[in-house]
């Protein structure tokens, strides 16, 4: 269980966001939406305890995150960064095994059971055949799946994903989303709570997620995607005209207008973001 109350976030003297509150339990999917520079990544870093909160507290498992060791935190909350290339050519399974680190002692090495967990995490995402491939040479989509497998191997009840579908092609995006959905719906037994950020509001609908809509470091709306993501709120946050429509299959999609908006407003908006 992750809970943040009245967080102010930022780096040292630079405050990036304030009055942010959220709650995440098992089986929840929380989707962070907002324009570039609205503070999503900073919020993530604060939630993970990688960056101290400027005000307010982050409670993880009922205790302040600042009072917990890195290993304690890592056993409760896993982090899936955007797919990256490490400087050394580790095998994919080695990258997944690194998810076990928080369960090993100071001088511990992954053992038989850790290897089995890593294996089954990869199998669960259908990437078992990548185990002995060079991670640094995998495609972006494959790397993202390996990093999700690593989070699974971490066996933490909560997973934070930083734009898990960024830089993925259309098919891989859908695949990753399907996996995220499956993770949270296995909730009854395993209870995975997922926080993810995305630039695509359609994904919030697809995941039937709880949404936190951010702008300029403030939460401007939160609630179930159905309620929060309306044409009006999206238009306000992104500074373009957006209409939300329902497809024949019943899913909602967001359609930005491609008509040029009043240019000056956009420019000044973009400037305040940067």
């Amino acid at each position: 269980m992750l809970e943040a109350r009245n967080l102010a976030i930022g780096y040292g003297a630079t405050k990036i966001g304030s009055d942010l509150s959220l709650r995440l339990g098992s089986g929840d999917i929380l989707c962070l939406l907002g324009p570039n520079g609205c503070g999503k990544t900073t919020l993530f870093r604060t939630l993970l305890g990688l960056l101290p909160a400027l005000a307010g507290t982050v409670m993880l498992g009922g205790r302040p995150i600042t009072a917990q060791s890195r290993a304690e935190i890592a056993r409760q909350i896993a982090y899936v960064p955007q797919a990256h290339a490490p400087p050394f050519p580790f095998e994919a399974i080695e990258v997944v095994l690194m998810g076990r680190t928080a369960r090993l002692g100071l001088f511990g090495q992954p053992g038989q059971r850790d290897r089995e967990v890593a294996r089954s995490a990869m199998d669960r995402l259908g990437i078992g055949d990548l185990a002995h491939r060079d991670y640094s040479r995998l495609s972006g989509g494959q790397r993202q799946l390996v990093l999700i497998a690593r989070a699974l191997a971490q066996e933490a009840p909560l997973i934070v994903m930083d734009e898990p579908t960024a830089s993925l092609d259309f098919g891989n995006q859908a695949q990753v989303l399907a996996h995220i959905s499956a993770l949270s719906h296995a909730a009854a037994t395993e209870g995975c709570g997922v926080v993810l950020s995305t630039h695509d509001p359609d994904q919030a609908f697809a995941l039937d997620a709880y949404v936190l809509l951010m702008k300029g470091g403030q939460a401007c709306a939160h609630g179930p995607a159905q309620d929060v993501l309306t044409g009006d709120t999206l238009s306000t946050v992104y500074g373009i005209a957006v209409s939300v429509e329902t497809t024949t299959s019943g899913r909602k999609v967001c359609l930005p207008s491609l008509v040029r908006q009043s240019a000056p407003t956009m420019t000044s908006d973009a400037l305040t973001m940067a």
């Binding site: 056993r75 050519p89 399974i93 185990a131």
Partner: protein, 340 residues
């Protein structure tokens, strides 16, 4: 053990075979190196001398001259390769060498100061060791006071700064040194050599290198995770600051110990981990032992060349540079990634 998973971590069968093969090669190389020299020995004579039989003269050559030197070459090569592998993982860069944090520059200054003050050999070695440790200690201290989110880059940059300062102080001492007596000794030391090595010189260095290797071996898994970068390593449950300090302290202890013994021997710590990584991959549990074995063998070959290819001793640093530099260019040409 599941199919295919054996090869992933730890010392699996192929790696053990490789390590065993390398150890045998190393023993043969060492035996050969003991035979070769101005006073040439046959394999039979060498064996006899090793077990304390045969020609008295051969026994003296083997035990008092060749064996200390062979042992020192093995120790220095193994130590520099281990430190290089550690620093490369820690700084997430395959083009990093053990002197990145100024250990060689500090040790150089320490030794040069010792020579300048006409101290005895043991004191020069102690001064070099202290110089190397102090330089790196100073770098980590200054880096911890600088407010910067990228700790790794801060460390490297401060290392460059302190290294340059130590280099300047060394140059000043060279200018002030007696040009006929001290300056050649300084120059020779800064190029690295095992020419005057005795068993007494090895005695303090060996336990320090072993003490430094133990934490590196124990932390082998954490070092893998550290090579993903600070933030990810922390998110995976590692206390990065503490672990990094331990790795830096161990690798610096190792480097300073052998630099005090052999002088500044470049390139070994940069090049050898690459060869090891090509053979067994980047996982530190495999990389460390294989680097140690190859590093030991490599420096033994180079040192044997240094004492046999010419009438006079060729400084080690010159040979390792002549061999290492083209290799480095070749690595760059292969398009390795730099700072990520």
């Amino acid at each position: 053990m599941g199919r295919g998973t054996t090869a992933t971590i730890g010392l699996s069968k192929p790696v053990l075979t490789l390590a065993g093969g390398l150890t045998i090669c190393l023993a043969l190389l060492a035996f050969g190196a003991v035979m070769i020299g101005p006073y040439g020995l046959t394999p039979g004579q060498t064996l006899a001398a090793l077990v304390g039989r045969g020609d008295r003269q051969a026994q003296i050559v083997v035990w008092n001259i060749r064996l200390p030197r062979v042992a020192a070459a093995l120790l220095v090569g193994a130590a520099l390769a281990a430190a290089g592998a550690s620093y490369q993982a820690l700084f997430r860069n395959p083009l990093v060498s053990p002197d990145i944090l100024g250990v060689s520059a500090g040790a150089g200054l320490g030794a040069v100061a010792g020579i300048f003050l006409s101290l005895p050999v043991a004191a020069i070695q102690a001064s070099a060791f202290v110089g190397g440790m102090v330089a790196v200690g100073f770098v980590t201290l200054v880096a911890s006071m600088v407010q910067n989110t990228d700790r790794t880059l801060t460390l490297v940059l401060i290392g460059v700064v302190i290294g340059a300062l130590a280099g300047a102080a060394t140059s000043l001492l060279k200018v002030m040194a007696d040009p006929y007596d001290q300056l050649p000794a300084i120059t020779f030391w800064l190029l690295g050599s095992l020419a005057a090595i005795t068993t007494e010189d090895i005695r303090p260095a060996l336990p320090m290198v072993l003490v430094g290797l133990v934490p590196l071996a124990l932390l082998r898994w954490k070092i893998n995770v550290l090579s993903l970068g600070d933030e990810e390593a922390r998110a995976l449950g590692i206390e990065v600051g503490r672990t990094r300090f331990l790795v830096i302290a161990s690798a610096t202890l190792i480097t300073a110990s052998v630099t005090a013994l052999a002088g500044v021997v470049g390139w070994v710590g940069l090049v050898i981990p690459h060869i090891a990584r090509m053979l067994v991959g980047p996982s530190f549990g495999r990389l460390l032992p294989v680097s140690v074995l190859i590093g030991a063998g490599y420096l033994l070959i180079v040192d044997t060349l240094a004492r046999t290819i010419a009438q006079v001793e060729v400084p080690l640093g010159i040979l390792t540079a002549v061999i290492g530099a083209p290799f480095f260019v070749w690595l760059l040409a292969r398009g390795r990634r730099g700072w990520s």
